[in-house]
């Protein structure tokens, strides 16, 4: 039996060495890759042991804060789904989104933890004040009850006062309801405001008009405005098949006459129109805190028919509500586009887009829209409102309803862009939401 025991001892040693080798392998050579693996939630759980900084709105309301429970910190979002996309969530299981992700290094600086360090490395993160206005955001949430988005910003500074997308989700319920949110056909996780791409429809005429004026056109130029305008074998038609005789550009903008804008687009030329749209920020990278999608302009080899349809905001054109709001902010800001931001402490930055004269011309035309054109519903007593409606024809349902504008027209303080998916005419639902947003934004500061 001694020989057996000797062999057995050899086998035990062999197994012992194999086990220790494997333990060594996972603990040292393979450790770096394993620690960085996406399914490894240690850094996130560890974070729960530290207090994240609080996220405040610009008016001092708490949007997200850490609350201690059972020795760990839990993230609380007092506004529920209202700030879901802008503020995001910080979940140990599903990671972080929104400002929770973008400002993570401030809210929760990486710890200097170590086995040998005796002093506590647990420190509280830094608080952050965002540009978002809780009352404006709540107003948007109250008004927008169908899928869509509302963006409001200060034209002079680019500070975003409202960034609302519906449907949303409750950031406190991420850990329990993530799967059902992800499976929801209405896609509540999509931030429609910054990352939703839509056909702009007539709201794009702001950019077409700016390009036209920038390249030698005038608001008083006259065009024939038939019900149907034929170009390259395709037809551009007016809404409702109306013919307007011969009208000025100013009138055509106020009534959103497609056949005139098709001709203006052809006259401006493809290169100039696309270049202006790009200068307005469409399809261009922004240094924005949140994930966003850039719009899509037609390919450079577009034919006249595509150009004509692009000029009226249809064709393959896609823009995000944030981009559209920035286009309006550029006009409101005298032709200089403010870079958007969600941080109060970020320095103001602007980019030249069009001349001040052009911006003034577009502003006048936008004032007419609200005064006597398609956007009368956006009018407010005592305030000159500038705006533009958009009714974007989309396959499968009613048109998307747009309204984008600013107020007061002579000294713009707030830009608002509204889109209601399948909301019908832009002059109705979207204009109403726009008006209430402006009323809320300017209300207390006096008119």
């Amino acid at each position: 039996m001694d020989r057996v025991v000797r062999n057995l001892v050899s086998a035990l040693f062999f197994a012992y060495v194999a086990l220790l080798s494997a333990a060594f392998y996972w603990a040292l050579p393979a450790a770096r890759a394993l620690r960085a693996h996406e399914a490894n939630k240690r850094s996130l759980v560890e974070e729960r042991l530290r207090e994240r900084g609080t996220i405040f709105s610009s008016d001092g309301a708490i949007l997200a804060r850490s609350v201690a429970s059972d020795g760990t910190w839990r993230r609380r979002y007092p506004f529920g789904s209202i700030f879901a996309h802008a503020v995001g969530y910080a979940s140990p299981r599903y990671g972080k989104t929104g400002l929770e992700r973008a400002l993570d290094s401030i809210l929760s600086p990486p710890p200097g933890a170590g086995f040998w360090s005796l002093e506590s490395t647990i420190s509280r993160g830094t608080d952050v004040r965002t540009t978002l206005d809780s009352r404006l955001q709540e107003t948007a949430a109250r008004l927008l009850t169908r899928p869509g988005a509302v963006v409001a910003l200060e034209p002079a500074t680019g500070k975003i006062r409202c960034l609302y997308s519906y449907p949303g989700f409750d950031p406190e319920k991420i850990d329990s309801s993530f799967a059902s949110y992800a499976a929801d056909a209405r896609k509540p996780f999509v931030d429609r405001a910054a990352a939703g791409l839509y056909t702009p429809g007539s709201s794009f005429k702001i950019i077409t008009l700016a390009a036209y004026l920038e390249h030698g056109g005038s608001l008083e130029d006259r065009f024939r405005a038939p019900a149907v305008f034929k170009v390259g074998g395709f037809r551009v038609t007016n809404y409702g098949g109306t013919s307007y005789g011969t009208i000025t550009v100013r009138e055509a903008f106020a009534r959103s006459v497609n056949t005139v804008f098709a001709q203006m687009g052809l006259k401006t030329g493809e290169d100039a129109l696309v270049a202006t749209a790009r200068a307005f920020g469409i399809e261009r990278d922004l240094s924005f805190e949140l994930p966003f999608k850039t719009g899509r302009l037609p390919a450079a080899t577009a034919d006249p028919a595509t150009l004509a349809w692009t000029a009226v905001g249809q064709a393959d054109l896609l823009v995000s509500p944030l981009e559209m709001a920035l286009a309006a902010a550029t006009i409101a800001n005298g032709g200089a586009m403010p870079l958007p931001t969600l941080r109060e402490d970020r320095p103001v930055e602007t980019r030249h887009v069009v001349s001040e004269a052009t911006a003034q011309g577009v502003t006048q035309a936008m004032v007419d829209v609200v005064r006597e054109g398609t956007g009368k519903r956006a009018a407010l007593p005592g305030i000159t409102v500038a705006g533009k409606t958009g009714t974007a024809e989309v396959p499968g349902g009613d048109a998307h309803s747009w309204f984008v504008g600013f107020a007061p027209a002579d000294n713009p303080r707030i830009v608002v862009c509204v889109i209601v998916e399948h909301g019908g005419l832009g002059g109705q639902e979207a204009a109403r939401i726009f008006r209430e947003m402006v009323r809320q934004a300017l209300g207390e500061e006096g008119r």
Partner: protein, 413 residues
């Protein structure tokens, strides 16, 4: 002479174990000395009864078991106070079973000669969960009687070891002297048990749904057969049959396929079927060389953190160093037991070989599973994992092993 009966080496070593686990508790708890006293007390009781009932038995084995058990208690306290309290209670009951078994074999040695009774009991208990068992974590190893849930296989283990040691030591001559060529009948007849048990364990694999458990039973049996016959073809043949059967089971049974698939390549399904194995590897990686420190582990991230995944969790807090200490303790236990049973009766020696070998095999199988050396299995680490029936039965086996050992006189085996 009476001084020798006091087993002072053992007592001194238990004192050292007390000091080391007190240090461990001190990192996590403010009442370290008290907790360490609770933890060492059952072993002091064992020591006292060893002085009375088996004063000549080896003095190193109990302190090593106490060290493993103490580290296990420290580990449970890292997870939760509830687990620790339960484990402490079970350790105390385990010490009682140690004393009872020791007294039984001391005063009624003939009890172990009812080998067929033990064999039948073991077999019945092994298959009991397959009939009336409940499934936990995919394995059907538990039986519930009222509020008490236990693993019959853990109790069966004690009977199984005694049966194997008795049966094979009594049939040693016949088994090992069976002619190879002239009388094939004998050859087949005595190869028979190996084949039968290999097939039985495959049956267990199918019904109990645990690869590690079936493999352990087979390895234990083949160990006894090999120790008796000294013929390597028995274990080789038995393992070959098991491997072939495994290939068949892989094709036929989903649960076997899952375990093997995620072992071969866990990465495509890290949130699903491979969650447990991958989380275990993360824990080893987090531990690194010396670990995050006791009490700093992420117990909530590891499934089955106090049973199957107890080693990765210990590794996370104490690192590779902790794993090395623990595995070395198991190796030392097996080597010392094998060495200290040299002068025992053929039955006693075989019992120690089977029990100590099986204990290390079980440790190796469950550790290898978490280290991705083989498919992950649901076994406990003897004396270390959280458990009721398991811990108690290992105390009983410790008594059986120690009873057949004697003082270390040299380090040859």
């Amino acid at each position: 002479m009476w001084l020798h009966r006091l087993r002072l080496t053992e007592l001194a070593l238990l004192g050292l174990v007390f000091l080391s686990i007190a240090c461990g508790f001190a990192v996590i708890s403010s009442s370290a000395v008290q907790l360490a006293l609770y933890a060492i007390a059952p072993f002091i009781a064992c020591w006292a009864f060893l002085c009375l009932l088996a004063p000549q038995s080896n003095q190193l084995l109990l302190p090593i078991a106490a060290l493993i058990c103490g580290l296990g208690l420290v580990n449970q306290l890292q997870i939760s106070l509830d687990y620790f309290s339960h484990q402490l209670l079970v350790t105390t009951i385990g010490a009682a079973s140690f004393v009872m078994v020791l007294a039984l074999v001391r005063f009624r040695p003939s009890v172990t000669s009812y080998k067929y009774l033990f064999g039948t009991l073991a077999l019945a208990l092994f298959f009991l969960p397959a009939v009336v068992g409940i499934t936990r974590g995919g394995a059907r190893l538990w039986v519930a009687i009222g509020p008490v849930v236990f693993q019959p296989s853990e109790i069966a283990r004690v009977f199984f070891f005694v049966f194997l040691a008795r049966y094979f030591s009594e049939h040693q001559r016949l088994l090992s002297k069976a002619p190879v060529l002239k009388r094939r009948a004998f050859e087949i007849r005595y190869l028979g048990p190996a084949v039968v048990v290999a097939l039985l364990t495959l049956l267990l694999l199918v019904y109990v749904k645990d690869l590690g458990f079936s493999l352990l039973i087979l390895v234990t049996f083949l160990l006894a057969l090999y120790a008796t016959t000294e013929k390597k073809r028995y274990p080789a043949g038995g393992l070959a049959i098991f491997a072939l059967g495994l290939v068949g089971a892989y094709r036929l049974y989903g649960h076997v396929r899952t375990r093997i698939d995620v072992w071969l390549d866990p990465w495509p399904d890290v949130y699903g079927r491979a969650y447990q194995i991958v989380q275990g590897l993360f824990a080893y990686a987090e531990g690194g060389t010396i670990g995050r420190g006791l009490g700093n582990g992420f117990s909530s991230l590891l499934p089955a953190v106090n049973t199957d995944m107890v080693l990765p969790f210990f590794a996370e807090t104490t690192g590779f160093a902790g794993v090395a200490v623990l595995l070395t303790a198991y190796l030392a236990f097996a080597l010392i037991a094998l060495s200290a049973a040299r002068d025992a009766s053929p039955y006693g020696r075989l019992l120690v070989i089977v029990a100590a070998g099986s204990m290390f095999a079980q440790t190796a199988i469950v550790s290898a599973g978490t280290l991705r050396l083989m498919p992950l299995t649901g076994l406990t680490m003897p004396f270390f994992s959280y458990g009721g029936s398991s811990l108690i039965s290992w105390f009983a086996i410790l008594a059986l092993i120690m009873f057949h050992t004697s003082e270390q006189r040299s380090w040859t085996v």
